[in-house]
Symmetry: C2
Subunit: 285 residues, 2 copies
Amino acid sequence: MSEAAAVQATIGDSEFDRDTAVTRREPGVYDIDLSAGWTIIKAVNGGYLLAVLGRALADALPHGDPFTITAHYLTASRPGPAVVRTDVVRTGRTLSTGQASLFQYDEDGTEVERIRVLASYGDLDALPDDVRTSAEPPAMPPVEQCFGAEDAPPGTSPVTGSSAIMDRLWIKLDPATLGWVLGAPSGKGEMRAWFGLADGRDADPLSLLLAVDALPPTAFELGLSGWVPTVELTVHVRCRPAPGPLRVAVTTRNLAGGFLEEDAEVWDTAGRLVAQSRQLARAKL
Amino acid sequence: MSEAAAVQATIGDSEFDRDTAVTRREPGVYDIDLSAGWTIIKAVNGGYLLAVLGRALADALPHGDPFTITAHYLTASRPGPAVVRTDVVRTGRTLSTGQASLFQYDEDGTEVERIRVLASYGDLDALPDDVRTSAEPPAMPPVEQCFGAEDAPPGTSPVTGSSAIMDRLWIKLDPATLGWVLGAPSGKGEMRAWFGLADGRDADPLSLLLAVDALPPTAFELGLSGWVPTVELTVHVRCRPAPGPLRVAVTTRNLAGGFLEEDAEVWDTAGRLVAQSRQLARAKL
């Protein structure tokens, strides 16, 4: 991994943990300073934001793991202060349901809602061990044959402007989904990568919320070059991930009417399908 | 279709429209009498319930079509009176976001929340005509070679107890996904059917919310026979469906830890992928 990983970060002591830390102001209300470290161009990454909200809900609910979490992205978040207000919808023995909203102040001091989330939480460690997954892990070359932003010759990166998040993530893209970088997109709505955090922190359920929304848009391989803002993102976390890099495969099968879906699967080193997600995004054609 | 279709019902004048009709009590608050006509065993169908909530939101929001709608099923709904409370989260030019909850009273008069929904609505007719769908419609035999409950010899139906909903739906299952009926499930997590409403009403965005949750559970073809209660269901409506029967294909790829996902695709007679859905459900192993 990167040089920053010389001393490997751990779950609970890492950039990701510090930047998603929420401070309880009063029961159900949390303050957070959104980090500028998870932005691309000017946008705060949607998966990072989901992890912030997910962390507040993990504190507010009696269960700690997001089993299914849905976010609607309402207005563009900016680095800086924000407040998360949570609402406990229902608590049960094995599942609890909660809602959360993230707010920021706009220029004239008005509180504006950025994101609203609805989620059900449980305890992944309490689940039985049965696995009858018929899905197959993505066929991907070994890490050594995949490419990250750090492998690009200077000046050739297709990403212009700020890309602070690139320093926080360790992403090695499958060359089969890299045609867009060379101006020759495959035409298939596929993006695949090895994924980790640059400081070497292993994955946990909260960082899976980041992993599903961290790769370049599948739209790039479909020949689109514009922004692909997320309308809604739902993540199912199905298993606590084993240590080591994740494999993330994202697929788009229905680009139509100016919208597309992005389906992500996340596999861990133990060969478990640890998360499934789908988002609805707008496509600029 | 069924004999009830002798006079074909229309969108706006059908069993489905009457049974999802909500009455505005005050701005944002709606009364509904949940019909016993959409139950299987004692459970009110989750897709019917989603359509009820979706209809209330269509009234409360400035846009009329659910683009992405997520429901968390909290407690079991029963036929009878219910109230839907909606909340407008954000209104925009092309999309509006809203939230809704359905409540009923339990035996001691306490109001209990049954379902909570978060959704973004738009105008399907305002979308551009571009279609770059790479997904293929499900390979299915013609209707004449598929089977519905009405084709089963008396006494052989695998569904016991009330199945009122069967009289409202027109479902013809692909024989390749019917092994469970004969005690020989395929072991694949697949269920496919031609789908319509028994009174001949054509599909619209609201009835698509029903279509994605109306087939027998894929778990039956995985050899499970128990109840598969939905925790969360998200539906993306991508296109206003053309008249005529729909093709619905449901797939499960990850049955593990006592949970499974069910992904549904709905295709119309014009060959458009009109809806995509995913639900997280509990599996009784």
